[in-house]
């Protein structure tokens, strides 16, 4: 039975199903084809008017219709698609019953402008509208559905009901590391022996005018609107910010023992996870990179590996000047002299930054990278940054032999999470 446990004696945790929706399409097959072809899913925004906005591009999901549209409604729909694909592949559970808990990374939820406008109109207020008017309209009871839709637990509750997960569904936010945190929570629950399986999902459908403007006011977004496909430029010298995107990633995690016992096909292993919070600043990393370095090292150690065992890094790679510089510093410190030999690529160059979903979207793609032994490129890498001496797999996919990969996720609020994924149980 020893082989069913990792070097630390904990149950080994494997992935038996995964699902993906990104601006490149729904489903892993389509996504993989387009990712390895170096295609971009970024386009001009048509969902809302972009007059007087500095950024007019994004990776909105336009191939799905959600009525009425809201961030939680879109997030729920995206998650449903990713979960359906993951559960179908795993063959675990039955329709409406998944035998394990739900860990959901999702954006914070709040009422949006269309609803505020409806309320303002319904209140009958004439010259000036205040929250007292909105409250009066709400008290009429005509907008009862807004309560469930805009609770912070809204999407998690709906998905728990739809897929019949067990226990209390956990909705979480660690900003742009949320997706990795969802996988980490599932990993830890299985390691504790609480469950044999967990459904780990991350979703984000929150591109609306206010969310875009909020990031824009922090100067975090690329403003190179033309052509849209060229805006996300991770690690390039002319990188000027990230591009917002929507999507979802889902994974069915199981203990290796349970997966083997039911003869499940094993896609890969969640070998380790590391985290370390940064106390330096709300949006910037500590200049010495120590928290990120510590985070990556914790993940490698948690997997019982050494930096020499790492064959590929799926970068956080947002394309902001700050992130890519700090990530380069961190992986250089961790890998030492090997840093030039270990490929590191950013899926965000093609997908954009799916925010709350990114950690899981990219973990799914990292496992596909190991499965196919082929690395999706970092596109739009035309002006190398002399300060970033990394093999970023520029512009064209590449075959490589890889056993272990790292997927990095870093977020506002000092959030850092790194996952170590392996192709096969060790």
């Amino acid at each position: 039975m020893a082989a069913m446990h990792d070097k630390a004696g904990r149950p080994m945790v494997v992935v038996t199903g995964s699902g993906l929706v990104t601006p490149l399409g729904a489903g892993k097959v389509d996504n993989w084809k387009r990712l390895t072809a170096g295609e971009s899913g970024i386009h001009a925004i048509t969902r809302f008017a972009t007059e007087s906005l500095k950024t007019k591009i994004a990776g909105t999901i336009d191939f799905l219709t959600v009525e009425p549209l809201s961030a939680p409604a879109m997030a729920e729909r995206l998650a449903e698609l990713a979960i359906e694909e993951a559960i179908a592949q795993s063959g675990l559970g039955s329709r409406g019953h998944f035998p394990g808990p739900l860990f959901l990374a999702v954006a914070p939820n709040e009422l949006e402008w269309p609803q505020r406008e409806v309320l303002a109109k319904a209140s009958g207020a004439n010259e000036t509208v205040s929250y007292d008017d909105l409250l009066r309209a709400a008290a009429s009871g005509r907008f009862r559905s807004y309560h469930e839709r805009f609770l912070f637990g809204s999407v998690g509750e709906a998905l728990a009901g739809t897929f019949g997960t067990e226990g209390s569904p956990i909705s979480l936010s660690t900003a742009c590391a949320s997706g990795a945190s969802a996988i980490q929570l599932g990993l830890e629950a299985i390691r504790r022996g609480e469950t044999d399986a967990a459904l780990c999902v991350a979703t984000d459908g929150s591109i609306n005018v206010e969310s875009l403007i909020r990031f824009s006011l922090l100067s975090a977004l690329s403003v190179q609107n033309d052509p849209p496909q060229g805006a996300a430029k991770p690690f390039a010298k002319n990188r000027d910010g990230f591009v917002m995107a929507e999507g979802a990633g889902a994974m069915v995690l199981e203990s290796y023992e349970a997966a083997v016992a039911r003869g499940a096909n094993i896609l890969g292993v969640i070998a380790g996870c590391g985290e370390l919070a940064d106390s330096f600043h709300r949006t910037r990393s500590s200049p010495d990179g120590k928290p990120i370095i510590g985070c990556i090292r914790n993940a490698i150690a948690d997997a019982g590996l050494t930096p020499d065992d790492i064959d590929y890094i799926n970068a956080h790679g947002t394309g902001t000047p700050e992130n890519d510089k700090m990530e380069c510093l961190a992986v250089s410190a961790v890998l030492g002299d090997r840093v030039k030999d270990v490929p590191i690529s950013s899926n965000k160059s093609m997908i954009g930054h799916t925010l709350s979903a990114a950690g899981a979207v990219e973990a799914v793609i990292t496992l596909m990278t190991l499965e196919h032994q082929r690395i999706p490129p970092t596109i739009n890498y035309n002006v190398p940054d002399p300060a970033i001496l990394l093999d970023v797999v520029p512009n064209a996919a590449r075959d490589a032999r890889m056993r272990h990969a790292i997927s990095n996720s870093f977020g506002f609020g000092g959030q850092n999470v790194s996952l170590v994924l392996a192709r096969e149980p060790a």
């Binding site: 008017a49 906005l53 406008e117 008290a139 912070f152 637990g153 936010s173 985290e275």
Partner: protein, 396 residues
């Protein structure tokens, strides 16, 4: 792990609410039956306003305070109180390996800016460009960070140096139960030695009242204690912050930290809320918490006053007459995310003193306490979803 689950001790408590701050002030105010409500400022809605607090005492830099909205200030302050009470403040080594799980809402808005936009929209020629321009000009860049749910945890990292890990759970009351449950599970399994868990709410916010008013959950017009609201149900939001330092008994002993109480178990569930679901779910959870300190004790109930959840919880509680009941919501209001951690803190101070605070419940449901209190069960029933229980035991 082969030796069975490790013990979880509560070694630090940081709480503040309309009753003031600190465990003893709360016990005394509850024992005196103090009720602090504001029925006028948000009329017809009733809220429990935060007692005056000197934020400088736990958030010394004004610059940090300026980066936060009130809910984050309340939470960062409460976290500081908890760390101080655990003797962990400023202990860089301990804080560097301290894990953190925060239950958070978020999203405090600039109500004046929203109102001005809503007032201007009908008069604007083209509405979408008007909205874009107003948001570009009226939104404060830093407000976004004050709104993000995970930035309470971020501020605690920055102000107090808690950096082992940082996770934020969302989802109203259930997130508060899950935060404590996962914290305990991590300690019991050896994944953590010490964890900071809790949350904060600013209940004095019209946009939060609005969210709950869609389904008429707010208490209006006339204040009554929780068990007396049957004909006029609703919760009165309460501003509060509550953080607990949970620690393995080994870790606490090794650093000479004194426990307040033992947090023996935390269990929760999600029912569909069909009629009677709350009662049967709590009964099922009761069987899981495994009492071992005799039959007598106290319920520290998080009953909110909304229906049918409150009546269904009451039906469960009535099945255990050997446990005296105290619904703290009558005094501190409904804190949503931090309510469960708050009530665990209040349970901990009660079992530490060995005495349950008195009750002035006009319905008579809250009977007088037994002489010595050795255990308390905390209930956390969400206004819409989520049911949880925690067992807090005296350490002899």
């Amino acid at each position: 792990m082969a030796d069975g689950p490790r013990e979880t001790w509560i070694t630090g408590v940081g709480i503040l609410s309309c009753l003031g701050e600190g465990p003893d002030a709360h016990w005394q105010a509850l024992d005196a039956g103090k009720i602090n409500v504001d029925t006028t400022k948000f009329a017809p809605y009733i809220v429990h306003p935060l007692a005056p607090v000197n934020f400088d005492a736990q958030i010394p830099k004004k610059g940090d305070q300026r980066q936060m909205e009130p809910w984050q200030r309340i939470g960062t302050y409460a976290a500081g109180l908890a760390l101080a009470s655990a003797g962990a403040k400023g202990n860089a080594d301990l804080l560097g390996r301290m894990d953190m799980i925060v239950a958070a809402g978020g999203g405090e808005r600039d109500l004046a800016a929203d109102g001005a936009i809503l007032s201007g929209l009908p008069k604007a020629g083209e509405q979408e460009p008007f909205l874009n321009e107003r948001l570009m000009n009226d939104l404060r860049p830093t407000l976004f960070l004050a709104q993000l749910s995970n930035l309470l945890a971020g501020n605690i990292s920055i102000v107090h140096g808690v950096t082992g890990s940082s996770r934020t759970f969302m989802g109203e009351e259930a997130s508060g139960v899950d935060a404590v449950r996962i914290g305990v599970a991590r300690i019991q399994s050896g994944q953590s030695d010490i964890v900071l868990v809790g949350g904060a709410q600013n209940g004095e916010r019209k946009e939060m009242l609005l969210l709950y008013e869609f389904a008429q959950f707010n208490l209006t017009k006339e204040f009554k204690p929780v068990w007396a609201r049957h004909g006029h149900p609703g919760f009165a939001l309460g501003s509060m912050g509550a953080f607990l330092v949970l620690e393995s008994s080994d870790n606490a002993r090794a650093r000479g930290a004194k426990p307040m109480a033992r947090l023996t178990s935390v269990v929760n569930a999600r029912s569909e809320r069909k009629p009677g679901d709350v009662t049967t779910t709590l009964a099922r959870l009761w069987d899981k918490i495994a009492l071992r300190r005799g039959k007598n004790g106290a319920f520290i109930s998080g009953a909110t006053g909304v229906e049918p959840a409150t009546s269904e919880e009451r039906a469960f509680l009535k099945g255990h007459p050997e446990f005296a009941v105290r619904a703290t919501g009558s005094h501190i209001g409904h804190g949503v995310e931090p309510q469960f951690a708050m009530n665990i803190a209040l349970a901990a101070v009660a079992v530490q003193r060995g005495a349950l605070f008195a009750s002035q419940d006009p319905t008579g449901f809250e009977r007088a306490a037994d002489d010595a209190l050795a255990q308390a069960v905390v209930t956390g029933v969400g206004h819409w979803r989520g049911e949880g229980l925690a067992l807090v035991e005296k350490i002899d």
